[in-house]
């Protein structure tokens, strides 16, 4: 992807470039679109896991936008997602407004929280933001448990579905792909703009970025707010897909899940997390269903993978992909597919 800008593209390639998709990415996306019609995947049960995986993947993209670009880990990410979900559900329950609008309300609330958090903590080094978001995540979960009159606490909040209950999961599959594509589009467009350049500069070396005239606080707050807004939006989609919200969804363990997916995928690539989410969720479910006499084995393995990746292969799967691309870069097909 080194020569993104120096090739004049025409027709479909230009459109794909506008969507920030390489031909390979577009093919992958098309495969995802048609996959529910092929035998092992055309069961409703499997499709449900696919939808959850896509939600996790989209969340991992939003997470990676701040973790990978400006090196600020949002350690309360699941709570930001959950805040969007709860807001959307409550707004939709109380005023019965159209669900897409309710989703935007969820995104707006999360963005507001992101702005507030960022304004407080992003003046300082990244560690402060990690701590503050962690505390906020725990506090939001505590609030969701405690404010029973609003959230019904641990009983779980009923949320309106997008489609009448009992429909095939296929109805949700295309909307969730749409949500993922829009997330990708927004994040990648920003990452390609001047803002993205500033983000990368800040993430790589904040002092150098400061010296070249970038105001790090401002850019970091912008980045963090966008990431939070998308988190809330994705959470709102989750709320209207799953039908019932419990405070457990805001737990730090859920944040760790997003984090592991994003880092296995490859930090700072955005697409890595989305691509990894599918095998990852499948692996989780396989372990959980086949080794139910070993509770927690899946999380144990995640922890191990996270540590190994951090020590030995910091680029994650995206680094491996880049290695393959570099190895076969003389092959014209490979080059066409990846630019």
């Amino acid at each position: 992807m080194a020569n993104e800008y120096d090739v004049q593209k025409k027709g479909i390639a230009k459109f794909l470039d506008y969507l920030c998709l390489t031909p390979l990415g577009a093919i992958g996306f098309l495969i995802l679109m048609i996959i529910p019609f092929f035998p092992p995947f055309n069961q409703d049960y499997l499709l449900r896991w696919f939808i959850l995986a896509a939600i996790m993947g989209a969340g991992a993209m939003a997470f990676d936008f701040s973790a990978g670009y400006i090196a600020v880990v949002n350690f309360g990410f699941a709570a930001f997602v959950g805040l969007g979900a709860y807001t959307s559900a409550i707004v939709a329950n109380h005023w019965s407004i159209p669900l897409p609008l309710a989703m935007l309300c969820g995104a707006f609330t999360s963005a507001l929280l992101g702005l507030f958090t960022g304004a407080i903590s992003l003046r300082m080094r990244g560690m402060f933001a990690i701590c503050l978001t962690w505390f906020i995540g725990i506090a939001l979960m505590g609030l969701a448990i405690k404010m029973v009159w609003l959230t019904r606490g641990m009983l779980g909040l009923q949320t309106p579905y997008f489609f009448p209950p009992g429909v095939s999961n296929l109805y949700y599959w295309y909307p969730v792909l749409g949500v993922s594509l829009v997330t990708w589009f927004i994040l990648k467009r920003i990452a390609r703009s001047h803002l993205g350049l500033a983000f990368k500069a800040i993430g790589q070396n904040m002092d150098a970025a400061k010296t070249s005239g970038i105001n790090p606080t401002r850019y970091r707050i912008i980045n963090f707010t966008v990431s939070s807004a998308l988190a809330g939006w994705i959470g709102a989609f989750y709320a209207h897909f799953i039908g019932i919200l419990t405070p457990d969804f805001m737990h730090t363990a859920k944040t760790v899940e997003f984090l592991v997916i994003a880092y296995i995928g490859g930090r700072g690539t955005l697409w890595g997390g989305f691509a990894v989410a599918f095998p990852f969720i499948w692996f989780t479910e396989m372990l959980r269903s086949n080794f139910d006499y070993l509770p927690g084995i899946n999380l144990l393995i995640y922890g191990l993978i996270l540590i190994l990746i951090m020590i030995y292969y910091a680029g994650g799967m995206a680094q491996f992909f880049q290695y393959l691309v570099d190895k076969y870069k003389d092959n014209p097909t490979v080059r066409w597919l990846t630019t």
Binding site: V73, S121, G126, L132, F135, G142, G296, L306, I307, M310
Partner: protein, 363 residues
């Protein structure tokens, strides 16, 4: 890092400071301290403790003092890890858990022995053996972690050390929690009490022997820790590395050994806290989350890497939580701290004691 050094050099050169101190009488010094952020907070803490104790009963003071010492021990370990190795230890609660688990399994046979033959020497020493076992186990686990994980990372890491370490400690925490669940099960593994003696009345409240012992263990450990850091050669090398790693290496200190010692000390302190509080917090996979939360709260309150400040910080946080719990009810003590933390980060991001500890901020 260079920035901070120049700022402090310009902001308060040594001569300025000496001039100030000579000119002040001790009354001015005391009033100056009282009106600094640290002074205000400490005075406020004492005031709140007295008022709440009068209003709600002295159990508030007792609970604060007992748990506060242990949170301070946890936070000392965390601050040490941060100032010496620049590691943000999010797996620290899991060493607390490991300490309590070890103490539980060591205490099982000792408790049975005490039940069979009461009144022996073992009734006094047995619990101490269990607590010591928990401490040593955690120190050992800490050394293993350092060798297997952080040493490997140090060899390979190029940039973003702090963030990478943070993520690794999260991985460690997940592994240890789920490893506990996998091997020992998720049920509560607790004991009724360590020392089977009648409670002691203090200020009209009956306090169990365990709590008194826990308090004295905390105080003695703090004193011992202070002695170790100030007067032993090993402690001096640790302080040297925390001030300047390259300089320490230059004068022939084995930084590798210091890292091992730091990890052993820091994890051992967490294990000691876990083992001593086994009677309050039974061992289960996620028992470490609350202590971890508390110790990070302390760290932010007193400033990153401030080892000495962790001690008053521990008592402050304990009081804060006891008061929140008794006035607002169970469950709110997770919500209220955020307001305080936001307040600190807005007005005093370097902590209430305005830390001057050198920390390697490399993002």
């Amino acid at each position: 890092m260079a920035n901070a050094a120049t700022e402090s050099a310009i902001g308060e050169s040594a001569i300025d400071k000496i001039d100030q101190t000579i000119g002040e009488s001790w009354i001015q010094k005391v009033t100056g301290w009282v009106f600094s952020a640290g002074g205000i907070t400490i005075c406020l803490t004492i005031l709140v403790a007295i008022v709440a104790s009068i209003h709600k009963g002295p159990y508030i003071l007792v609970n604060t003092v007992i748990t506060g010492g242990m949170w301070a021990l946890m936070a000392i370990g965390l601050a040490l890890l941060f100032s010496v190795m620049n590691i943000a230890g999010f797996a620290h609660g899991e060493y607390f858990m490991a300490g309590s688990l070890t103490a539980y399994y060591v205490m099982q046979p000792i408790g049975k022995y005490n039940l069979d033959n009461p009144g022996t020497f073992m009734a006094y020493v047995g619990p101490l053996i269990a607590i010591l076992a928990g401490t040593l186990m955690c120190a050992f686990l800490g050394i293993i972690t350092e060798r297997l994980v952080f040493k490997q990372l140090r060899k390979r890491n190029r940039e973003g050390w702090l963030l990478n370490c943070f993520l690794i400690t999260i991985g460690l925490s997940v592994i240890m929690q789920n490893g506990h669940q996998l091997i020992f099960g998720a049920d509560f593994k607790g004991i009724l009490g360590y020392w089977d003696f009648p409670s002691v009345p203090i200020l009209g409240v009956y306090i169990s022997m365990d709590r008194i012992c826990a308090f004295f263990i905390a105080i003695l450990t703090m004193i011992g820790f202070y002695m170790f850091m100030m007067f032993s050669t090993a402690g001096k090398t640790i302080r040297a590395v925390s001030q300047d790693e390259d300089g320490a290496r230059m004068v022939g200190i084995s930084v590798d050994t210091v890292h091992i010692m730091t990890f052993a000390l820091s994890c051992g302190l967490a294990g000691l806290a876990g083992a001593s509080l086994l009677f309050m917090f039974p061992a289960y996979p996620t028992v470490g989350v609350m202590p971890l939360y508390n110790s990070w709260f302390i760290i932010i309150l007193v400033g990153f890497g401030n080892v000495a400040g962790s001690i008053p910080g521990g008592f402050m946080i304990a009081l804060f939580q006891v008061v929140t719990r008794s006035y607002l009810g169970e469950g709110w003590e997770a919500v209220v701290p955020v307001l305080l933390i936001s307040f600190i980060l807005i007005f005093k991001p370097s902590g209430i004691f305005a830390t001057k500890v050198r920390t390697v901020w490399d993002e």
